[in-house]
């Protein structure tokens, strides 16, 4: 239960996980690995990088003409 003035992580902390590794694959793990959502976010980041990189050259080439 959240308490006024205290972060949830202190009054209702995350449930501890089992210490030992039984070596079994995690139930949700598929082709995208154990963190599929993060992998998609990383691909979005790479796409943003590519868009920014080329948009940057385009903008600068318009603003700074040679000749």
């Amino acid at each position: 239960m959240p308490m006024y003035g205290l972060p949830p992580g202190l009054v209702n902390p995350p449930r501890p996980l089992p210490e030992e590794d039984d070596g079994e694959e995690l139930p949700w793990t598929g082709k995208l690995g154990p963190a599929p959502g993060t992998l998609i976010l990383v691909l979005i980041f790479l796409a943003a990088f590519a868009v920014y990189y080329f948009a940057n050259w385009k903008q600068l080439s318009f603003l700074w003409r040679i000749g």
Partner: protein
């Protein structure tokens, strides 16, 4: 000698009384610095916004100097010293090896900061943060910075000593926790940084007294090994705080210890060399030196940030999924505690640092682009996204946990605290993006008046610049409101806040020392 400590009800860690007090002192000093630097930020912003153009030229450059030094050096380093005391003696269940030395170092840092502030506010150091020779400030300005740097250096050595003491007294098992490891890399980079600071500020101090000469090109080279490397201390400390916040807020796991630790080591090896990108347009260095340092070496440091940029959110995802939030690709993030300012600060810090700060940084680290955008607003647009939206945002998020854990007070104005990270990060997002745009239109940085009134020449910018600068200013003001809220909340909580009563905190013994406790080796 009897060791005075208390046991934290949440983490189960033994908190050394002296570490507790030193964290409080450095935290309060950081907040005071943030207040001064924040006021200066608003004054600078309202002058750069041509529609307002608040300050005259003399006061603009004076306040810009105050803003740069107070924020980038005093605020950040005071907070980082608090982080070192937390990740050293506290997380290792140990003690401060030499408390009196710690207090002497703190006194040196405060004295140095006060001295430098006094010189700046009284107009005897209108030299901007970089204080390029032959711009000359009053000798006491340089002395102030030297004292501050020596104090910070002593704290870093105290941190290393605390690692030795904890190891010798067997206060932890196995390797040091990942967060402490990250803080150790920050401390190593700090030693490199502060060594360069001493290497350049001591000769410059003597030069200001008329006792020796300093070559401007040598000054630039050595100064940037302080000026930029100090921001790499921030990066390493910030990433450590990311791991800590992930563990505290959602119980994130460390996906792969070796990868995360290797990424921290990459920072030590390459990030200081990458400071050479400040010298890309300098005539005194050959192209091979520039390219090797700013391409190959810088990209190794960027690789480290990209590794952390993957492992931190992936650790959150796996931690959430292991606790049952397995629905779809993004169920884990939809069900995350978005009302927890610690968690929202973590996410916003990662996103703005990576998407805006990271991408713009790599782009302007390219020599051809650097030749075009050097000394334009593109540069501060980049580093406001990294240092402010990244580092300061992460530190703000950590504060919401340090106040209950260390000061043992509740967070005042809790509903405002939940919104504060969004306000601050949202404002900074607009501010830094539109500042970068303005730089693309060649608007210079560190410039009082871009209309060049009374100048013998006329320079017209694109009409879009007025709009871009206006949006930048509104974003900056929104962020300033977010920053002011943070100061109000933290100061009120610490000095007038409601103490936490016995039993109000969970005694679940959360392990913030990720790496010592929960690990995702199960996943690897």
């Amino acid at each position: 000698m009897r060791w005075i400590h208390r046991v934290c009800p949440v983490t189960g860690l033994k908190i050394d009384r002296q570490a507790d007090l030193l964290i409080r002192a450095h935290g309060v000093a950081a907040t005071v610095a943030l207040l001064i630097g924040g006021i200066a930020a608003v004054l600078v912003l309202l002058t750069r916004w041509q529609a307002v153009h608040l300050l005259d030229a003399v006061w603009f450059y004076r306040i810009l100097t105050v803003h740069g030094l107070t924020m980038l050096i005093f605020f950040i380093l005071f907070f980082e010293m608090a982080v070192l005391y937390f990740t050293g003696p506290v997380l290792l269940n140990s003690r401060v090896p030499a408390p009196r030395v710690g207090w002497a170092a703190f006194a040196l840092m405060v004295a140095g900061a006060v001295l430098a502030e006094w010189m700046m506010w009284t107009g005897r150091a209108d030299v901007l943060l970089s204080s390029y020779v032959p711009l000359r400030a009053h000798p006491l300005y340089y002395l102030g910075i030297i004292l501050f740097a020596v104090g910070a250096l002593i704290v870093t050595f105290q941190f290393f000593a605390s690692l030795v003491v904890a190891k010798r007294e067997r206060t932890y098992e196995g390797s040091v926790p990942l967060i402490t490891f990250g803080a150790a890399t920050a401390a190593i980079i700090a030693v490199i940084t502060l060594g360069h600071g001493a290497g350049i500020y001591i000769p410059t101090f003597l030069w200001s007294l008329g006792l020796m000469d300093v070559d401007p090109q040598i000054y630039r080279m050595v100064w940037w090994a302080l000026g930029h490397a100090s921001q790499q201390v921030n990066v390493a400390a910030m990433v450590s705080v990311w791991y800590l916040l992930g563990a505290l807020t959602v119980g994130s796991v460390v996906l792969n210890e070796k990868i995360s630790r290797t990424a921290f080591v990459l920072y030590i090896l390459f990030i200081s060399l990458a400071s050479a990108h400040h010298l890309l347009v300098d005539p005194g260095f050959g192209p091979a030196w520039k390219v090797v340092n700013t391409s190959y070496f810088m990209y190794m440091a960027v690789l480290a940030s990209m590794l952390h940029g993957f492992t931190v959110p992936a650790g959150v995802e796996v931690g959430q999924r292991l606790r049952g939030y397995t629905q779809g690709l993004f169920g884990w993030i939809r069900r995350a505690p978005w009302g927890d300012p610690g968690f929202s600060s973590l996410v916003l810090s990662v996103v703005v640092f990576g998407f805006v700060g990271g991408i713009t940084g790599v782009t302007i680290g390219t020599e051809q682009i650097n030749m075009i955008v050097h000394n334009t607003l593109r540069v501060p647009g980049h580093f406001h996204a990294t240092v402010v939206s990244g580092t300061a945002m992460a530190f703000m998020g950590l504060t919401y946990y340090l106040i209950p854990l260390i000061f043992r007070k509740k967070i005042a104005f809790w509903p405002l605290a939940k919104w504060q990270p969004y306000l601050f990060a949202g404002g900074m997002l607009f501010f830094s993006i539109f500042m970068s745009f303005a730089g693309g239109f060649a608007v210079p940085r560190r410039h009082w008046d871009i209309t060049f009134s009374n100048a013998p020449f006329d320079l017209q910018f694109s009409p879009a610049v007025d709009l871009v600068m206006g949006v930048m200013a509104v974003g900056g003001l929104v962020a300033a409101v977010g920053g002011a809220l943070y100061i109000l909340i933290t100061v009120w909580s610490v000095f007038f806040g409601e103490p936490i009563r016995e039993g109000e905190l969970s005694n679940a013994h959360v392990r913030p020392a990720a790496g010592a406790g929960e690990s995702a080796t199960a996943v690897a």
